[in-house]
Amino acid sequence: MTTSFDHLLPVAIVLSSLLPGLAIFLVAEDNRRLRTLLNLTGAIVKLLLVGVLVWGVYHDHAYRAELPLAPGLSLILRADALSVLFVTLSTVLWLVTTIYAVGYLEHSPNRSRFFGFFSLCVTATVGVALAGNLFTFVVFYEILTLATYPLVSHRGTPDATAGARVYLAYTMVGGALLLTGAVWLQGLIGPVDFTQGGLLSDQPSALYPQFIAIFLLLLAGLGVKAALVPLHGWLPRSMVAPAPVSALLHAVAVVKAGAFGIVRLVYDIYGVEFAHSLGLLTILGALASITIIYGSMMALSQDGLKKRLAYSTVSQVSYIALGASILGPVATIGGMVHLVHQGIMKITLFLCAGNYAETLGVHKVSEMNGIGRRMPWTTLAFSVGALGMIGIPPIAGFISKWYLGMGAIEAGMPWVLLVLAVSTLLNAGYFLPILFRAWFREPPADWPHEEIPRRRLETHATLLWPPLITAALCLIAGLLAAAPFSPLEWTELIARREYHG
């Protein structure tokens, strides 16, 4: 049974960031209070609405809204367990990042423009998460590109402009490939509604060669945002963006939209078993494995902290694709739960990197000697994120890797363990030296650019609290992984529905 509220809820969740976003564009630049009010109201309203959604979907409630545009083309917003995973992640992290960004951008120009596009970005992300068919997914996926472009070029420096141009070139080509594949597929089988278990296995086998070509087109389109090698080139370049944007791009919005799309493609369009029978999972698995190793190797040699984190993202996001490429519920859980775990860990790392840059002017790993003494709380949060990325228990990242490894054994793919092991070693290789420097080396007499004189807190409260909260989330997600409504428990629910209907 559906009521009108069931139609309204997904629409309201999209509007709860769209409307404040549009209003923020109109706010006068110096009216900080009104802008912050709009930002936080939107973020909190969204959080409440998502709370209702989580509860409803858990109890098998169907939320669905449809807007027909043309025969066979409808915008459909719909919530299933997988959407909820992504919606919740982006909503929680939006609130955290907004608080952080308010502090971070306090004195910089063009704040109305920034927060306007920031809200549009979240709107598009939530739209991607709630998209009920491929058409709607493509629509929001493209809007996401448009909304992030101004954020990447926000600083206005020649570097930022150039980075934004590279970003645009990659994502627009990706978008065009995705569109082509989507139209092609829809031409063959009609409207492509996301369906648990996929909807292609009943099709005549004469279409299989076309299905393979379409999969590769769609994968290329999604792989750009998910930064699959060799489509990852935009990501390190877009590091010129301000720290909250990097956090958003890497943990919440852009790369996750790509990874989420790959998950939808494998499970809800092709069906994991059907994709496996076409041999497509092997291609995906190989690409993901290469990306995992390559990203980590590149991260090793970066001195710029944000660059190192960027290559780490390239590597870590592919765990999600890797999970999707292994047949079996356990690996599915490992991949999907990493969608959330990588998100909270990576956002912690980026927010900390932002704090170092903002407070001390530290941008490079080689400048981080003894930074743990000057900024112990930030460095503590950073350490939690970094250890989680390596996969040390009981932090969230360990859970993902454990399930991925178990899933690989279950599926008879032991070579995946080798990929995981090498990746873990490389992760340790580029994170542990940072932690060693930060905690055990002597701090320099002067920091490169210490803006704020020492005070009670090591930096502004609005900058300090967000990474502490997300670091705590990393620990909670790991420690309480078996508790109800934890990311792990939720992905188990998805996997159950995906494999047993």
């Binding site: 630049e29 043309a70 493509v138 493209e142 070029s153 206005g156 420096t157 645009l168 082509t180 139209v183």
Partner: protein
């Protein structure tokens, strides 16, 4: 309801006469006439929405001699777009042509332009069309030259001559039709063509030649590549409100006639080969127009070349529609075509108005030096961005939906090479739109307010929002208006 058909001509024509008689009140009378025309068009649209096509014979003469007028779904959609776009441009023009001397020249011509556009969309008779076509060409060229600079005069003189050449070629086709079939009425003509085919005769070579001549003449007026050479200088040099109307409406009217002749009147004699040729020229327009837009150094020239490219997309529909059998798929593609034409109308008029305002504020329209001005004018920059999104065909614009259906048609008919054209055209459009927008993210000081001069900025923004938000999200009614069944409810 048929009186709305008559009023569609009487209101703007009467307004034109009044503005000549009372030049002191030209702006006020002009705005009033345009507003009344919009109201009347709304009534007419409502009538077609409820009852289907409306017919009227003026002067009591029926076919084959009389002056037949028909408002069907397609013409109504074009009329409605024209009414809204002219209304918004008029509001902008009232501000732009504030100088009474210039206003006195602008308003009568402007209202005559509207008369001829309405006449073109409603005519169901080839000669009738010719009269309106001539009137349109003359008023458009005169309006384009209103700026008075030497370049504008030269460009628009050329435009006038090209237009005359186009009309003459068209008239030659009309004469052939009349000699061969003794009628100029659309419905009768189709009847006689079909009857001839049914009797086992070959498709009349006269009909094919006549169609060829008419399409050639109209293609010149619609600036179909490679006959587009006159458009960029003419549209690039006209005053902003006029450029907006020229690009959004005037070339579209010529295109609309080609479509109508091709699909509805001469359908029995059209061939896939001829459709392929039109598609090929369209593809040339997409690639060449976009490439030139990418290379343009001035904003208004960029917009003009983008029009060449956008018209090209419309012609790419022809070979795909031709290959589809009559039925839902083909009807859907026709609606998509209308959607694309209408979306472009709103987007391009918004783009030109914004470009005009920006040119006025900066004192020039050299793209490379517009950065500071763009950052100072957030609302206008947003207008350019939104209109640009529609031109590229990004969601949520009407062009995105249209392009999706066009791509689908290309796959469905196995004509995958058009997919490559669309792919390349889209990426080129991204390149030329963002080459402009990149300028807006420099290191300039923060703008204080979103709107700097609401009177000039709001109309353009409304047009752009229409192209992006509204036409992107509420396309379903267009299916009903065009009478396509099995469509979205």
């Amino acid at each position: 309801m048929t009186e709305t058909l008559a009023l569609a001509l009487v209101l703007p024509l009467g307004g034109a006469l009044l503005t000549v008689v009372l030049p002191g009140q030209a702006a006020r009378l002009g705005l009033l006439a345009v507003a009344l025309n919009t109201l009347n068009t709304a009534l007419l649209t409502l009538g077609v929405w409820q009852q289907g096509a409306l017919h009227a014979d003026f002067g009591g003469w029926g076919a084959p001699l009389g002056i037949g007028f028909v408002a069907d779904g397609l013409s109504t959609a074009m009329l409605a777009m024209t009414a809204l776009v002219t209304l918004v441009i008029s509001i902008n023009a009232a501000d732009y042509f504030r100088d009474p001397a210039r206003a006195r020249h602008f308003w009568p011509l402007w209202l005559l332009l509207l008369t001829s556009l309405n006449g073109l969309f409603l005519s169901a008779d080839l000669f009738n069309l010719y009269v309106n076509l001539e009137l349109l060409g003359l008023t458009a060229a005169a309006l384009g030259a209103l700026g008075g600079q030497r370049a504008a005069l030269e460009a628009n003189l050329r435009y006038l001559l090209v237009g005359l050449l186009g009309s003459m070629t068209y008239l030659l086709g009309v004469a052939l039709v009349y000699s061969g079939f003794a009628t100029l009425d659309f419905a009768l003509l189709t009847e006689r063509l079909t009857a001839g085919l049914a009797e086992g005769q070959m498709p009349s070579p006269i009909a094919a030649t006549a169609l060829g001549l008419m399409v050639l003449g109209l293609a010149l007026k619609a600036a179909l590549f490679p006959l587009h050479f006159w458009l960029p200088p003419a549209h690039g040099s006209a005053p902003a409100p006029v450029s907006a109307a020229l690009s959004a409406l005037v070339v579209k009217a010529a295109f609309y006639l080609i479509l109508r002749l091709w699909l509805l009147v001469f359908a029995p004699v059209t061939t896939q080969g001829a459709a392929n040729l039109l598609g090929l020229l369209g593809a040339g327009a997409v690639l060449w127009g976009s490439w030139q837009a990418l290379r343009a150094e001035r904003l208004k020239l960029l917009a003009a070349y983008s029009t060449v490219a956008q018209l090209g997309y419309l012609f790419v529909f022809f070979p795909i529609m031709q290959a589809l059998p009559a039925g839902d798929a083909r009807d859907n593609l026709l609606v998509a075509l209308a959607l694309m034409a209408i979306t472009h109308g709103f987007a391009k008029s918004g783009f030109f108005l914004a470009a005009g305002f920006m040119q006025k504020q900066a004192g020039h329209d050299r793209i490379a030096d517009l950065g500071a001005t763009m950052q100072r004018l957030p609302a206008t920059t947003l207008t350019l961005a939104l209109a640009g999104m529609a031109l590229i065909g990004l969601p949520p614009s009407g062009n995105f939906t249209a392009k999706w259906l066009l791509l689908g048609g290309a796959f469905a008919t196995g004509q995958w090479w058009w997919v490559l054209v669309l792919f390349a055209g889209t990426l080129l459009a991204v390149a030329y739109v963002f080459r402009l927008l990149t300028q807006a993210f420099g290191l300039e000081p923060t703008p204080r307010r979103f709107f700097t001069q609401a009177g000039a900025e709001v109309p353009a923004l409304l047009l752009a929002v229409m192209a992006v938000g509204v036409l992107g999200l509420t396309t379903a009614p267009l299916w009903r208006l065009l009478g396509v069944t099995g469509g979205a409810s």
